[in-house]
Point group: C2
Chain length 437, copies 2
């Protein structure tokens, strides 16, 4: 098999066979195909897309390029949730404990802050002692004890994706729904899931700004997951403003614990609602209820009953995390400096540039500019208004939290440009646009 | 400047600035941009094409990536002819001497056999002693003495093309008219030409099978040449059967000398006619006549006068070539083995698969399968019929010449499949489809 022939075939709009895609994936996993050939093929895929058969082949062979978790000794149905990335998105800390409380098993492999979006692992690591890198047998022990584990990707998982993901970043071939689908789904399927709920975000704070793009990606991922034998559904959700109240690291853990404790607050209602919808779909696809609506109802009952909070504590303890702060969560989030961002005009909060809020969070110190950089546990941005809320002149719209005072001016300058106030309230937008299943 | 941003810009259909293209070309020439990024950009160019400004920038910066010949001491107008590659195409050995006979100066930088097409340098090297690699001052001396020189590309010429050409071959990005144009024109313009005539071939024996593709490439090259200050025109010509009688190396030199000697033969009339048309355009663009038609007329007068033959001998001698064979040219072409390919049916030669004839020539030993391989001076294929000629059962259609008898079976098998005979004569096709100027 000649790689150049495979590149030319895709370049000219043809579809590669399963054996041809297997050859390319093996070459990526073992670094035996030169990067210039993989890059040319990736650009041809950006151009021509992939047929459903090609996407299935690519995802399956990427999944199988490394170890695939099976956990045959686990009693529960294995379910996970994956989000395409947002600002203030902390639903994982709610849906995984709720699903575990329902008797499902959630082996969640998460990522770090990337660009303007936050990282689940970075948030968890703001808990002193919490270990995000577990061996397979440690994961199994946590799952058996608590029903959920949230860990980082290890090197034995989908090595082909490591090569291709890094190359896409360096060769301008990130933005292909087919390549995004194969990257996400190969990693999720390598966790040996029975069911998967995808949170595909759209709007100013999402990677996919247009709803049509989000729906296309969702359709690809749902088809790919179902074809691989994992019951998969996707919710297309609104990321035009930060989710909940806090965006950062420790601050998001604190907020999540408040929701798990049923301490309700108008600014966290969107987070609570979305988490219940995602968890409801997890319960439905995991076979615990007969419909998504029943799932949402059961999720809320479980949350009100308090078991999800216990599950979350169980996981933190099992992964080495400190629990001493649990009775006074504000101890976990101790920023050295804070500064309010106020509105000079009155009316209604008309819009938020959620992408720029995400970059403000990143620049506050909560994110990173290069892989491997340390992040601040205490930095972040708090939202005091939701789109549509009334605003009086002088009202605080955001509060910036930093450890390093020198970071304040740039974050403040960004946030001052990040919102608009109008005389009339904007038309309300749904939290979930639609479900692809 | 970030290369990934430039790749993304082209990927999304944008046009790069002159400075951005200069950066990419410099990176290619100095190997300071990784091949995977250049390959991704090349594939994006295959996809999106280049604007006229981008093509001008790319060609100009490639040209200027190495030395550009100026020859300020040369008295004549500098003119050249370039062909996109064919089978039996030996017009260079006719048009360069005719143009030199008219007082023009022809610094022709040629290539080697590639795939199914022959190479001017390989043909000339069948002349004992002929040196195709000259230093700049040697080229100048030959030009001053004879008015023409035909040499190989040297390493100081267009180094950016060496990187990009090799990478295109390995990354499936050869087939882009924009990249083909930039590659050809950067090398031609680096010879410091005042005028250039392009022979863009189409038909079964050409790289561009479709006339529309040939016209598009011709338009790009003509626009690029004129914009760079070199008067440029292109003839779209018929390559649906081998040009002239012989395809090989020494055999093509012998045939060329016959034409230069005005030894006319029905099977070489297409070669003679095309050479006069190309030479006529060289004389016109070189300012020797007032119209292409006058140029063709003057070219024929010069050919009949015998001066082009003297110019060709002058060049061979000046570049170290033996002239002893000139009085008995058959000495130059001495194949060890020959075998006729005959027709089993009668009628008219309806078509020739010129692409496959080209591969038969290559497999006879006249071409190569990898760069750097030696070629046979004496191998090749002779055509005994032109499309439209009457055929009697048992007539010889081709003769195969080889030095290595083991090569015969595969060449014979190919050629037996390479022609069709029909009851009625096929509709005649023009030799020159059109001129782009």
């Amino acid at each position: 098999m000649h790689v150049v022939d495979l590149i030319r075939k895709k370049r000219d709009g043809g579809a590669l066979t399963d054996a041809e895609i297997a050859y390319l994936v093996a070459g990526a996993a073992t670094n035996s195909i030169p990067e210039y050939q993989l890059a040319a093929w990736l650009m041809a895929v950006v151009w021509r897309g992939l047929s459903p058969e090609e996407l299935h082949s690519l995802t399956s062979h990427m999944r199988d390029s490394g170890r695939v978790l099976r956990f045959p000794s686990l009693p529960g149905v294995k379910v996970d949730k994956h989000s395409t990335g947002g600002v203030g998105d902390k639903t994982s800390f709610l849906v995984a404990p709720i699903a575990a409380a329902a008797g499902l098993c959630v082996p969640m492999i998460s990522g770090r802050a990337l660009g303007h979006t936050g990282g689940t692992l970075d948030k968890l690591e703001s808990i002193p002692g919490y270990r995000t890198h577990l061996q397979e047998e440690e994961m199994l022990a946590v799952l058996n004890a608590c029903g959920l584990t949230i860990v980082g990707q290890t090197e034995w998982l989908v090595p082909a994706d490591r090569t291709l993901y890094s190359l896409r970043d360096r060769s301008g071939t990130v933005e292909s729904p087919y390549l995004i689908c194969a990257s996400i789904m190969s990693k999720k399927l390598a966790a040996g899931l029975d069911a998967l709920v995808l949170d595909v975000k759209t709007g100013s704070g999402a990677f996919l700004k247009q709803e049509a793009e989000a729906i296309h990606l969702a359709e690809l991922m749902v088809a790919t997951g179902n074809r691989a034998g994992t019951r998969t559904a996707a919710l297309i959700t609104n990321m035009s403003q930060p989710l909940g109240r806090m965006a950062g690291n420790a601050a998001e853990i604190v907020e999540s614990v408040e929701v798990l404790r049923n301490q309700r607050h108008p600014l966290t209602e969107d987070l609570r609602r979305l988490s219940l919808e995602l968890a409801g779909w997890m319960l439905y696809l995991g076979g615990k209820v007969r419909s998504p609506d029943e799932g949402i109802q059961l999720a809320e009952e479980l949350l009100l009953g308090g078991l999800p909070l216990k599950k979350f504590r169980c996981m933190i303890a099992a992964q080495g995390g400190d629990l001493g702060w649990f009775e006074s969560p504000q101890w976990l989030h101790r920023p050295a400096h804070r500064q309010p961002i106020t509105s000079s005009s009155a009316g209604f909060l008309a819009s938020v540039d959620c992408h720029q809020v995400g970059w403000a969070v990143q620049r506050s110190g909560a994110g990173r500019t290069a892989a491997g950089e340390a992040v601040s546990a205490h930095a972040g941005v708090e939202s005091h208004k939701k789109v549509g809320d009334p605003v009086t002149a002088g009202d605080t719209i955001f509060t910036v939290y930093v450890e390093d005072e020198a970071r304040l001016p740039s974050v403040v300058a960004t946030l001052n440009q990040c919102f608009t106030v109008s005389a009339a309230p904007p038309a309300p937008e749904p939290l979930v646009y639609r479900v692809v299943s």
